[in-house]
Point group: C2
Chain length 345, copies 2
């Protein structure tokens, strides 16, 4: 799977910078801008076709005043999975790459790791042995790398790592490996009065330091998996100390639970890419009145990104792909529906 | 403690209805309106004095562009306790009154409750015996009345109850027993670019059905205690079924934990009234740079509402009152600082 660099016809830099400005505009200006944007194509990186049409049709329905499908602004809630839906999740989740790098960085303080699994597997770069250690091994890695510091310290560790670590295939910062068509979709929904949330199986505190800058999604609109914390006053300053105990897994049936806990109402649109998003898509679209929208990003482009679904280690898409056909969820075929994958192409 | 009805000099109805309109206005209109409102007094139900001045001074500081204490809009986060801070918590928490009414309503299906504690105490109206059953008894009551149905069913039960149940002393709906000065404060902060959140020890799903209508706080900005839920597909429709297990207690050291989990950044202003709010006030105001604001509502008015603090069963204010003096938190003296308590006076 060799990467190829494509130079698309339109200038993505202009598109990106104008989208980046959107959150700065006031709500009323945004409404005006939505009209202007709709006229000049809010989704320039999406090819014309049934997929793009289904998105535009849904947004038009729920925003058409006095129309049969009109939804008041405060109920326009959209939830997005992160890994594989907004950014790359191959050859492994970015957060796993972070954890492995942290194991290496912390090894001088833990010489015993050199002969102790699953840490030895990490230090040997033996991903197979690591995966063989199963969930127990991964939880050990997470506990050793994600706990034992304050929330403020963890935020700095994540921010520092993301500012330098690079993906091996694309040689880019991970925060550059976000899908340009999905950035446009996030901005388009917000310009149409939606509140956009992330509902990810990934760690909530791993995402929050950068989601506002990269996606325009503020920390309070990020839902994810978490470990427990303990409140402590230290030298007169309050801290939250991160503990090596799982608090919540925001995946599969956990997604509607996390969404309900954080948002308190059902989304009217949801976007995912794997079986981990099945229940979120069900919770969003089924057994409810009015217009609802579900979309699955299908990774079909080995040349520009990756091609995987039913057999994949990360981001397995099997049951949810069958459910999409039954429930009339839109399936976005990355190869055919997306003009470009990344802004830097 | 006999209630007295006072007719204040200004027309509260006008104030209330204009405040109620605020959330409908766009962000840019709100900014304009903030200026106009500041000129015509954004807190008309607050008496002039040090308390009111401290609020106005804080808001002016953080909203003054290029000033030394300016805070960007996205960081203007304010958290409010609910019971005793935004509405009445005496002679018992409203949610406890709800639970006791639910026990009575459900007794025909549970004849064994007539002779079984703590249910018998409830049916006999014996609050002392109920409190003697301790936390274990209260958890049993909560499990019996708050679990065993879907989230949608529970929302309807709460909404129906609140539309008819009345407080014994004031003969009013509980949602009328909200503090007019605090409604003005919520609206004033929002008009000044703040996002207002509730962080309550009360049940998150008990508050969400009405906080948007009464306080202008949408469900996604409500943080509270919760029980566990289970996702289930039923006849093709997704449901969340409420289980009789505690998920999270959003009180004391739980408040900063809940705030971090939901918001992901520290508030710059917090409002409480009891020792249950101590850690939220610490988390908000201590060991942080820039302007921070903490306020405690002190119940000092037995004539118009209730007077209680260090010895109270509900809303005990002891350690946090001492901490207020040390940490320079504002203490609002209800009797002297508030022109009126309720909108209906």
């Amino acid at each position: 799977m060799k990467p190829t660099i494509r130079v698309p016809a339109i200038d993505r830099r202009v598109v990106l910078s104008s989208l980046a400005m959107l959150p700065l505009l006031s709500a009323s200006l945004r409404s005006t801008s939505a009209v202007a944007q709709a006229q000049r194509d809010p989704l320039p990186s999406w090819n014309e076709g049934a997929t793009k049409a289904s998105i535009l049709d849904f947004v038009t329905r729920v925003t058409t005043q006095n129309g049969p499908y009109f939804v008041p602004v405060e109920q326009r809630i959209a939830t997005f999975d992160n890994d594989g839906t907004l950014w790359v999740e191959q050859p492994m989740y970015v957060q796993l790459a972070f954890a492995l790098d942290r194991v290496k960085a912390l090894t001088p303080m833990h010489p015993e790791w050199k002969t102790k699994q699953p840490f030895a597997a990490v230090l040997d770069g033996d991903l197979k042995a690591l995966l063989a250690s199963g969930e127990k091994g991964l939880v050990e890695i997470i506990a050793a790398t994600h706990a034992g510091m304050t929330t403020a310290e963890f935020e700095k560790i994540v921010t520092d790592w993301l500012s330098t670590a690079r993906d091996h295939r694309f040689k880019r910062l991970y925060t550059e490996l976000v899908y340009q068509p999905m950035l446009e979709l996030l901005a388009y929904l917000r310009a149409s009065g939606f509140k956009t949330f992330i509902a990810s199986g990934g760690g909530i505190e791993f995402m929050r330091p950068w989601t506002e800058r990269i996606y325009g999604v503020p920390p309070e609109q990020v839902i994810g998996s978490s470990i427990k914390t303990r409140f402590e006053m230290k030298d007169g300053s309050p801290t939250l100390f991160r503990l090596p105990d799982i608090n919540f897994i925001d995946d599969k049936a956990g997604k509607p639970i996390g969404i309900n806990e954080h948002i308190g109402r059902r989304p009217i649109a949801a976007f995912g890419n794997s079986d981990g998003d099945l229940e979120m898509l069900q919770w969003t679209t089924l057994g409810a009145s009015g217009a609802r929208f579900g979309l699955i990003v299908h990774h079909t482009d080995a040349e520009r990104e990756y091609a995987y679904d039913r057999q994949s280690h990360f981001g397995k898409l099997d049951v949810a792909l069958d459910a999409a056909a039954v429930n009339k969820w839109t399936v976005a075929d990355m190869k055919n529906d997306w003009k470009c994958i990344f802004a830097f192409e």
